[in-house]
């Protein structure tokens, strides 16, 4: 007896690289990312969209990859935690901030927080203030069982500081080269 389902070959663009995967229609995006593309940084904590551990960015916006099918992701640009650092391998400000602030313990929920916060900070210009209240709002949909969120909230503010510092340095570099 065969229950083998119809397979679909779709192109998934993840972290700037497009790769084909052949999957049944019901294959969750989270499983395709983790097991077909072997990008295991994205974690699955509940498979019902509540915990946020599986959050990836779809065209820059956070989505729960356990609530999407892989076939729905074709034509969209997906960013996972593995794609947050820049092309030179420099950590994203929020990654640096989580380390600086002890924003993680077991690390399982962390990729979902990192992607969520990275997307949210794009709404802020470097130099703009992110209040604690705004920080709590940003991380308000993700579950963490280890940290009690205290240092995660701090890390949001710290990430924005790092963005500001980096923008300042970039401006400085630009000013230096313009002056030559």
């Amino acid at each position: 007896m065969s229950l083998i389902e119809e397979q679909f070959t779709v192109s998934l663009s993840v972290n700037g690289t497009t790769r084909p995967v052949t999957v049944p229609a019901r294959r969750l995006l989270s499983d395709a990312i983790r097991h077909d593309l072997e990008l295991t940084g994205t974690h699955v904590g509940c498979e019902h969209g509540v915990c946020g551990a599986c959050t990836v960015l779809l065209d820059g916006a956070p989505v729960r990859s356990c609530l999407m099918f892989a076939v729905q992701a074709e034509g969209h640009a997906i960013t996972t935690v593995e794609g947050l650092a820049d092309a030179n391998g420099r950590l994203h400000p929020v990654q640096e901030a989580f380390r600086d602030c002890h924003g993680l313990q077991c690390g399982f929920c962390t990729p979902g927080f990192l992607t969520t916060i990275a997307a949210a900070l794009e709404e802020y210009e470097p130099g703009a203030d992110v209040s604690d209240e705004e920080a709590r709002e940003i991380v308000g949909g993700n579950l963490c069982r280890c940290t009690g969120y205290q240092n995660i909230v701090k890390a949001v503010g710290r990430a924005q500081e790092i963005r500001t510092e980096r923008a300042g340095r970039a401006d400085g570099d630009a000013a230096t080269s313009a002056g030559r």
Binding site: R34, G107, Q150
Partner: protein, 810 residues
Amino acid sequence: MTTKLFGEPIVRREDARLIVGRGRYLDDIGHFALGVAFVRSPHANARIIDIDVSGAVDIDGVHAIYTYEDLDGPMAQPLPVLIPHPDLTAPRTGYALANGSVSHVGEPIVMVVADDRYLAEDAAERIAVEYEFRTPVVGVEAAERAEHAVHEDIPDNVAARLVQEFGNVGAALRDAPHTVSFTQTIERSASMPLEGKGVHARWDAVDESLRVYSSTQTSTSVRAAIAIKLDLSVDRVEVIAPDVGGGFGVKIVHPWPEELLVPWAAIRLGREVKWAEDRREHFISSAHERGQLQRITAGYDDEGRLLALDAHILHDHGAYTPYGIVVPIITSTQLLGPYRLANYRCQVDSMYTNTVIVTPYRGAGRPQGCFAMERTMDRIADELGLDRAKVREINLIRADEFPWDHHLMFQDGRPLIYDSGDYPSMLTKLRELVGWEDFEARRAAAAARGRWLGIGMALYVEGTGVGPYEGGHVQVLPSGKVLVSTGLTSQGQGHETAFAQVVAQELGVPIEDIEVHTGDTRRFAYAVGTFASRAAVMSGNAVALAAQAVRAKALRIAAEVLEVDVADLDIVDGVVGVRGDPGAVLPLASIAVLSNPLRYAFDEASKAATQFARFASDEQPPVADDDEPGLEGRDYYSPVRSTFASGAHAVIVEVDPGTCAVTIEKYAVVHDCGRLINPRIVEGQIHGGVAQGVGGALYEVMAYDDMGQLQNASFMDFLMPYVSEVPQRIDIGHQETPSPLNPLGIKGAGEAGVIPGSAAIAAALEDALGIRITQMPLGPSQLFDLIRAAGDGHADHTFNHARRSQEESA
């Protein structure tokens, strides 16, 4: 001098891989492994009449379907009672797959192995099980009534009657100037790590060896269990705990059925097999904790001195007792807290119910014990009209009274003797930190805004660092890299950082050169596990001792090479130097080369250790009789008994009279875990514990209905705190009373944060509302009902409420 590292809040070393998605958790391993799904019982109490697998067995891609009938040898025997105890007179455990009956919803009955988990679930759905229903027993009161039995041959549903006793409670209660009796309940919750359990197994038929990865808190013990149950020689089995996404107790239980079935199937099928638990499975088949009903009678004098305490506790341990009666033992011993008491009796009846098993969840019976004692203190204060802090103060063990012997046996089978502490100073610090004396002004200001404010506190003592032992291995490689191994596992506690700090300091090497490994039986085969706030105490001291052994050997070799006295040598930044002679230096890497006499050279460095190059006496063998090759050391730390940490929490809550929503206005913690290895990590542990304490006090319940169905088995319905539910700030005061029991003077910190949460918040709610709080947790609906019941005369106001009302009207 090497940079001081012990006690420094350095950033964690494990974070480098975890923040970029390069952690390796259980389900990150084995992308091509066969998937597993289980048919689990939908009924809480039933006999299995028939299992029909005909609808699933011929599906393409299904490799095997197993029931109890397929289990052989030790696998067909019941799962072990891990911690036997003389008072556990009617132990009962389940089977890897149900043998003819099921005792809780979620119990595994059939195992399906297929190409992947999707297909395995499809096949599992096509398996039909016929049941004969029996009336389930849900809740300890139903268990006590014993109208129905969970297990037919245990008609009273009692697994154990544990009595802890000293003094003469009966006489002391009769003679006490005052007595008070009350009953209170505390609900079930669960560890609920973000990563569920999981097992991956691979059988190497050529090597006849088994490698198992498990998301466990004890890889060495899982290894022993697998070897016994699968009838393998233990040397053929290796078990590795990879990165583990939180444990909090649930992963110390072992062997879970899946930890045996997955490797068993991998051997039979000759294929890699993996099972990763989904969230619903975790809710209904992994362990819960907390649920107790407590009947308390206390005798006290006019000043609030506690003279006698009699507690009768019904403990809900669910359907089986694989972890023995550890939770009842801890509740009944740690209930005593930081107080002096001459007459004590605590009876815990550990009751079977048709619900998932109850085994330690962070705190492990202490939150319940703390709830009993601290609510007793509040009750005495209320009855006498005294300040709650003052009543506690008069009962505290004084700083000069250590060691304090309670003359009871603790959970490690050792005497319950507090090693050190300073409880009065802790209480003073707490009052300052929370603003205890200024609170009435704050309450009045809130009342003027139409808000109800209340304050509460709770103190606890926590036995940490239980034995029997842990070990450590430190090895300096010829490259200069320092490998550190200990057998216990890590679930986010920062062991790779903390143990590296200890070794860097003891050995005198840069922390960057150190690599720490935990929970891997290939690297260290002797260990107990990570639970009971024991890892820093046990393995911290073990790796310190191992590092000292390496240091001694390095200095001995260096003294020979440099022709100086050992006493003139020191190790700084990984280099042995002679005091007062900056030119005479020898890196540890070179000593590592010299420590291993060679016949063959592989590179320039190793030439120094070959037979024609090496310094050696003609009369001595290259490896002396009492020596061994290599620059490495192994040692064990085994304490005579536990070391006792302590703490005190105070909380100010605000209740919205309209919605009954509770807001935590202030949360203050004074914490004493002896010397701190890394304050940043300790504070993180406290933060996480407090959040779990708040969850347990205000939100988390396991909503079983009368049929034993868990009604809220998802993150949508089980209200685990988000950031919006935790205090916006946690004020922490550290106090460091070193333990005299171990070389580093440390005590455990892992569980502390969660212990007093329910007691302190209950006290604050009671203070805010003026209504007696006898159940936790309490959400807005329950508070609303309670306020209405008090208005109707169906719930009691506190005496303090009456006093305040009088003052207001006067």
